[in-house]
């Protein structure tokens, strides 16, 4: 089972030969010293040696302590298992299942252990862990929570121990982890490439040397690897001897409270990690320094507050609230004796722990240069609250943020498509093979499951010549595949002059851009429709290129009156076209407007609906609402004030749409990202 990529064959890049990246290496070592530290998540930019480090740990792992049976024969120290869970694994390989070969030959049911039980007492490594399918995540979570893996299938009923160190790597650009899953990682490291040219050149040199001859390179570093291995082993032995003074326990608890960490797991992990570090550094008594050194690893990904975006949001209110929460933490005096020095030292570490925190937001670097722009818009706009209707301007994109989850409910319809937003079962023979079920008549045979179903009965069945298996219709199992569906996202943006006031357009563009970013991560198809002056236009027909939509959005000029009804009408036409092409699609329509429609579709006699653009738009909206396959959202760009017209709210009511202000769209807390489980 040991992979040829690591054990034998081509050597892997030694962990000790990594240049820089000390935090990452340290976190991995802590997990190796004390497996109860609870796994390591390496998150960060691509090409920063995350996978290399994770796989390098294998060489450093101390062997398993011999069990009582084995201690009689200590000649064979068992290596710890190091198993890779590939993203495309099927359920039976993860939890285990009937071994059909044995069953066919001998007619007995034997479990073919899955990765979860094979990884017991070892490491379970998942590369690109954020891309792991939800149903596999569930299995891993379940085993991690229970420390065992229960198997109730194919006539097997077993519970196997399954305690493992979870090591995962991920690039946040590709999406985030579910919070429960995130919590399963005891330590999380924010990885970035080294910025020092010296280190970069050294990296290049070593890489060249390694690739020229991996064997020679590994041999060259072998003594150092051995040294580190011995040090880890020694630290492991010393673990139980580290003394934890009472005041340090209090310090840990206080730290966790200050950081608003959910649950008690963090306290425990913090203590374990600090003790492991203490032992590794050869000290006997745990001190604040060690706690503070590991604190960012344990706490950064657990803080309950959502990552506040690094630049202050244009809206002053939440800004103040945040500042109020942050401030006292920094100034809080510590009651401990060595507090003068300690708290001085604490300051830098505490601020150090901050960088990993805003990172999820930093994944959308659009944040960076923008706030200035939107700020400027704010200051330059007020003189002309109602801009000249004929002036056209292009506003830059305002601040972007992480948007809350918008999805359609998973249903039982079978459909086609590809993407990551909503989950659904698929009818074609594509998508991930999730598990098998009884014959559903679709002809997508799950051969492995079918054979497993038939295997135990083979001894008693008559077989056709040349075949080892006699399959009966009752054995047939079919594949159940699942695929995240990208939705069709229709963005209808109001580009009229009224949107130009007070940086509203910048904010609206920021909101739309955030939706686009989200659409990109979820592989949605997007269409961009805008309306201004006397009509509406499809800026971009339905396409998978969110990039293109982003570019067009940046260049979208605004100005003129508000032909809201035109916009709605055109959107509806596009939606209906999409539905004709793919009747099972579930389009999401997002209308970004202040709702102040003032152009009618057609001129009519005075007093009729036709002559009142708003009524016309609302009437149209209620027609659109009858299309139940589409889901509508209205994003109101009107500023909150006493004299607000609340026209967008009316529009939302007519559309039977969900109604949001721009600020509502932001994903408030990490916890709110928990998807409604199906």
């Amino acid at each position: 089972m040991s992979g040829p990529l690591t054990g034998r064959g081509r050597p892997i890049y030694p962990l000790v030969a990594l240049v820089g990246q000390t935090t990452m290496v340290q976190a991995l070592l802590l997990a190796a010293i004390n497996p109860l530290c609870g796994g390591v998540l390496l998150r960060g930019e691509k090409g920063a040696a995350k996978s290399t480090a994770a796989r390098g740990l294998r060489e450093i792992l101390p062997p398993l302590p011999p069990t009582s049976a084995e201690s009689a024969n200590p000649s064979l120290p068992r290596g710890r298992p190091f198993l890779t869970l590939p993203l495309n694994a099927t359920e039976d390989r993860v939890v285990g299942g009937l071994d059909f070969e044995v069953a066919t030959r001998q007619g007995i049911r034997v479990n073919n252990p899955g990765l979860l039980s094979q990884a017991h007492q070892g490491i379970l490594y998942i590369d690109e862990v954020n891309l792991l399918d939800d149903h596999l995540v569930d299995l891993v979570l379940d085993a991690a929570a229970r420390g065992s893996c229960a198997l109730e299938r194919e006539g097997l009923s077993l519970t196997l121990p399954s305690q493992f160190i979870l090591i995962g790597t991920m690039n946040p650009e590709e999406g985030e982890l579910r919070p429960q899953f995130l919590d399963r990682f005891g330590l999380a490291v924010q990885v970035a490439s080294e910025k020092d040219p010296e280190l970069r050149v050294e990296t290049l040199r070593r890489r060249e040397e390694f690739e020229a001859d991996p064997w020679v390179f590994a041999a060259k570093w072998a003594p150092e690897t051995e040294l580190l291995k011995a040090r880890v082993l020694k630290a492991q032995a010393e673990l139980s001897r580290v003394v934890i003074p009472q005041r340090i326990r209090e310090f840990i608890a206080q730290l966790a409270v200050e950081r608003h960490v959910a649950g008690h797991r963090a306290d425990l992990l913090l203590e374990r990690a600090a003790v492991a570090l203490c032992a590794f550094q050869g000290r006997k008594i745990l001190a604040e320094t060690e706690v503070l050194e590991v604190a960012p690893l344990v706490l950064a990904h657990r803080q309950r507050e959502s990552a506040p975006p690094p630049p202050p949001p244009p809206d002053p209110e939440p800004n103040e609230a945040e500042a109020n929460q942050e401030e006292p933490e920094q100034e809080e005096p510590r009651p401990e004796e060595p507090n003068q020095e300690e708290s001085e030292r604490a300051e830098p570490t505490e601020t150090e722990s901050a960088p990993p925190e805003p990172a999820p937001a930093a994944a959308s670097p659009l944040d960076r240069p923008e706030p200035e722009d939107s700020g400027e818009e704010d200051s330059t706009e007020p003189p002309s609250p109602r801009p000249n209707a004929l002036v056209e301007r292009i506003f830059e994109i305002g601040q972007t943020f992480k948007v809350r989850r918008v999805e359609t409910a998973k249903d039982r319809l079978r459909r086609r498509g590809s993407g990551r937003r909503s989950r659904g079962r698929v009818s074609q023979k594509q998508g991930r093979y999730v598990k098998s079920g009884p014959n559903n008549g679709l002809g997508d045979l799950a051969l492995d499951a079918t054979i497993r179903a038939a295997a135990p009965y083979q001894l008693g069945r008559e077989r056709a010549p040349g075949l080892a298996l006699a399959l009966w219709p009752s054995d047939i199992r079919c594949r159940i595949r699942e695929k995240k569906m990208g939705n069709h996202l229709f963005l209808t943006v109001d580009a009229s002059g009224s949107m130009g006031a007070r940086g509203r357009m910048a904010a609206a563009k920021g909101a739309v851009m955030s939706l686009l970013l989200d659409a990109y991560q979820k592989r949605d198809q997007v269409a961009l429709i805008s309306f201004r002056r006397d009509g509406a236009a499809v800026n971009l027909p339905l396409t998978a290129s969110a990039d293109l939509a982003g570019r067009l959005l940046a260049e979208m000029p605004i100005g003129g009156r508000t032909p809201l009804a035109h916009g709605l009408e055109l959107t509806f036409r596009e939606v209906r076209n999409a539905l004709l092409k793919n009747p099972l699609a579930r389009p999401i329509v997002i209308v970004v407007t202040d709702g102040r429609g003032n152009v009618s579709l057609t001129a009519g006699p005075p007093g009729s609906t036709q002559s009142r653009p708003l009524q016309q738009a609302w009437a149209l909206a209620s027609v659109m609402a009858r299309e139940k396959r589409a889901k509508y959202l209205v994003v109101d760009t009107e500023e909150e004030s006493l004299v607000a017209f609340k026209l967008a709210e009316r529009l939302a009511a007519a559309l039977e749409a969900e109604y949001y202000r721009i600020n509502d769209l932001k994903a408030e807390t990490l916890l709110s990202l928990i998807r409604a489980q199906t």
């Binding site: 830059e396 054979i451 293109l548």
Partner: protein, 360 residues
């Protein structure tokens, strides 16, 4: 495989120098890990890749080995992998020379085909649990070609990323479990109008070239003439270019031999690091790829010393898709522009309005 239908010869492709160069560099040093070819329809993207087969050098493999193991370094895996697929083995397997393959991954492929799965026939006939290796096994030490790579299904991209990162492929499916090496040169073509690649996959392509139809009249006429000649009599056309193909293959094989001797000066190493820091790339892969590409470039010129021109040319190929950009921003078509921008705008005022002209 390539016998029945003659393929348009690589050497007969008019223009598209950077595309040809990127492919050649990848043959000289396969660890460059591939080329992403971006461009509109009908710009000889696919022709160039398919025609590679004629100029690819030969490698040593074990006879009948579906995993194309390297007899010199991966021999010890042979027994285990052969057993997993149910091949009985001689004690002394024969080593044969075989041309490097171009394995094509169709956009609609299933995960089973890509990764490998349970051998159906064997399971039914003998009741044995054996692995049927997938395209990743076939692509080991060869070229994996994905046409319209941006349309590839998400779960297939995940599988590709997984094995590109590991240099191997783990099959944990349908009751079978096997890990085998899979280091391949990933060549993808795409039309950016139909959507961008995911950043993680983008980064896995060593080099990136942007192709567009040539505007020069003489060249366009040459394209037409050669195409017409090829369609009229493919065999004769291929034969008329055979000598040229042979010369190219020779030159590539010489460069391959020379590669180990190419030296990079201290200053050049710093120049690489400085360049990457300046334009802002994620991670270290940019540095590593420039380094390798520059060496391959020197070897291709028949020199053993990397010159600044080599570095410049390597950066042009290695950086455009790595320059850190704001999400949804266009790829940098013009590297110089980006570098100048990076220099000018240490101030945060580099809004999206200043980005390079869209490449559409």
């Amino acid at each position: 495989m390539s016998q029945p239908n003659p393929i348009f010869p690589f050497v007969a492709i008019v223009g598209q120098e950077s595309l040809k160069l990127a492919l050649i560099l990848n043959i000289i040093n396969p660890s460059l890990a591939g080329v992403l070819i971006r461009g509109e329809k009908g710009t000889a993207k696919s022709t160039a890749v398919r025609s590679l087969a004629q100029i690819l050098p030969a490698i040593e493999v074990f006879e009948g080995d579906p995993f194309q193991l390297d007899p010199r370094t991966e021999a010890e895996l042979l027994a285990e992998l052969s057993a997993a697929v149910g091949l009985s083995r001689l004690v002394e397997p024969r080593i044969v020379q075989r041309q490097i393959r171009v394995v094509e991954l169709p956009v609609g492929a299933t995960e089973d085909r890509l990764v490998g799965t349970l051998d159906l026939e064997r399971a039914l006939k003998t009741g044995e649990k054996r692995v049927e290796p997938g395209l990743l096994a076939a692509a080991h030490r060869g070229i994996l070609y994905v046409d319209e790579v941006n349309l590839l299904d998400d779960h297939l991209v995940d599988a590709l990323l997984d094995s590109a990162a590991m240099g191997g492929c783990s099959i944990e499916r349908e009751g079978v479990s096997l890990t085998h090496p899979a280091r391949f040169t990933l060549v993808g073509t795409m039309n950016p109008e139909e959507g961008e690649l995911r950043p993680q996959l983008l980064d896995r392509f060593g080099l990136c070239v942007h192709v567009s139809g040539t505007l020069e009249l003489a060249q366009r006429v040459a394209v037409l003439e050669r195409r017409a000649a090829f369609e009229e009599n493919p065999e004769a056309f291929v034969a008329s270019w055979a000598a040229e193909s042979e010369r190219l293959a020779q030159k590539i094989s010489q460069a391959q031999k020379l590669l180990a001797e190419v030296k990079v000066s201290q200053e050049s190493l710093y120049e690489i690091a400085r360049l990457c820091l300046e334009v802002g790339v994620d991670g270290h892969r940019g540095d590593i790829v420039i380094h390798k590409a520059a060496k391959a470039m020197a070897a291709w010129r028949g020199q053993t010393e990397v010159t600044p021109a080599d570095l410049e040319a390597a950066a042009e190929l290695a950086l455009p898709h790595r320059v850190r950009r704001q999400p949804l921003q266009a790829l940098a078509d013009n590297l110089d522009l980006r570098r100048n921008q990076a220099r000018d705008s240490r101030s945060p005022k580099a809004g999206p309005s200043q980005k390079p002209a869209p490449g559409l």
